[in-house]
Subunit: 348 residues, 2 copies
Amino acid sequence: MWRGGTLRGGQLAYETWGRLNRARDNAVLLFTGLSPSAHAAASAEDPRDGWWQRMIGPGLALDTDRHFVICVNSLGSCFGSSGPASIDPDTGERYRLTFPDLSLEDIARAGHELVRALGILRLDTVMGPSLGGMVVLAYAALFPGGARRLVSISGSAAASPFAIALRSIQREAITSDPAWRNGQYSPEHPPAVGMRLARKLGTVTYRSAAEWAERFDRQPIRADLRESTPFGSEFAVQGYLEVQASRWVNAFDANCYLYLSQAMDRFDLAAHGDPQAVLRRADLAHALVVGVESDLLFPIGEQEALARAFESSGTATRFTPLPCIEGHDAFLVDTEHFGRVIGEFLAA
Amino acid sequence: MWRGGTLRGGQLAYETWGRLNRARDNAVLLFTGLSPSAHAAASAEDPRDGWWQRMIGPGLALDTDRHFVICVNSLGSCFGSSGPASIDPDTGERYRLTFPDLSLEDIARAGHELVRALGILRLDTVMGPSLGGMVVLAYAALFPGGARRLVSISGSAAASPFAIALRSIQREAITSDPAWRNGQYSPEHPPAVGMRLARKLGTVTYRSAAEWAERFDRQPIRADLRESTPFGSEFAVQGYLEVQASRWVNAFDANCYLYLSQAMDRFDLAAHGDPQAVLRRADLAHALVVGVESDLLFPIGEQEALARAFESSGTATRFTPLPCIEGHDAFLVDTEHFGRVIGEFLAA
């Protein structure tokens, strides 16, 4: 692992769409945000909609008539790839907090090993949103020449103190939940109170005040979600947070969340050397940096600075700030804006 | 109380600076944000610096050579005014959750009764920042002609869904702390874990990403604050949050916080009727609405909309958006900007 420690018998879950061409030069490797699985779109094996369903497919932005798209579940996550919730082959028990220190560099390296295992020497494009928008930078730093093009979506060259503050509060909500039991909870009894708080706060940081003013204003909560407890929820926006949080508590492992969240805080492209030099060494032909003007967690200035670093490294760079009002999560919902920008870049 | 219920034998803590003139028309009533006491500045009785120390005094923005300044501890708070932590004279026990439903209108009314008790028929100015910036609107709605001028600082005509979301997460952190005991904690054993989380999140919402990038960047935490526990704090910004939270846990009562926080969520000037008509009826000669461009919790658009409502009501209105980078809390720290704007308005 990048910070020391070893992972034995690690596994990586991934899905693919489209076909690898004979030259093996049409692959797009897609890293995810913090919480999604590798199921970015429906497939023959799993027909459920994926988290980027309207972006991946024939004629779509990630055009599977042209590209072989690979989406990987991040190392450290809990959807098939090895992480704190996986069984340690040495002990037969879950790793929990014995999982080695995780960094975004490890996530990038795991993706790279998958690419090599698939017989691909050079990616057409390495791409990722949010956490994935940082992982692609680790990828570029660690594997010079590993990709011809790079797309960083709503990412950053380093976690800002503001984002660190917000994420550290989310982690503290979990670690201070007695049910966390210093990581030794059973899967049937997760630290649900802390996870709910963490997810609610996450949801606030992923969206925007403007969107919610439009969407919820001061409407009262749906009658079936109203709580009669003291200080219970009264407004529609609180009901929305509650629904988001309830879904998540049973869908994501708390220790995996803690590892991935901390790995984001620790990421800093400058740890690899002067960013300009690092990006030059990456030997990319083209870079696309996309961001959203209403993003609270990864403010647009961070994408602008990243784009400037690419430019000054000599990479042909396109920087596209988008006027979406959905904040950080816009890449998940505003397929129209994102589809056009990313589709045009990949088709060029 | 405005939402029903009665408070018997209520008390109100206040401090004053300067002297009431013979005409009794030079009084400035100052409401506070959510957490401060009435000790806005040093006085003969209490020489410690107050929370607006550099704003109140001879020759300062709130010029005590000209004005009689009154600062009131909000009803529902815990610094001398009646609130959930006070003793209910009927039972000899703390009110805790039997304190009646609190609204910002009750805080305004309590301030008004103080003003009347001091023999003042009409205030020169009613003023308040943050929560107080909303209370002054309740004051204007409830007491037409009660003040000649109004200053609303970093406030809003109604809580936004975004602010409601953030505050409801803070409240949930407290109410889901087992030590809260449904409000029945003893003062020696407050729900410290929930209060820490609530204050840390509050601190994030009170400042700005830009300020912290400048102030903390990615510096490591001070060695004496570093935690060796899993996922313990590593960055300077986390140490800052920790210091803020530790101070607060022992300084503020959890139930009082819950009451005041919920009262903010529930405030909506429109509950008093069409805002334009309500503000016209208030019969103010001048209004000053100040806000900060980097404010996350009360975005500048909310002050702009409030200023427009004042204008359309026929009140001579000044709207001053300030370029401070300290976010919502700027009024506490950027005395230069705020002192000039408020000083000029009061001197006019």
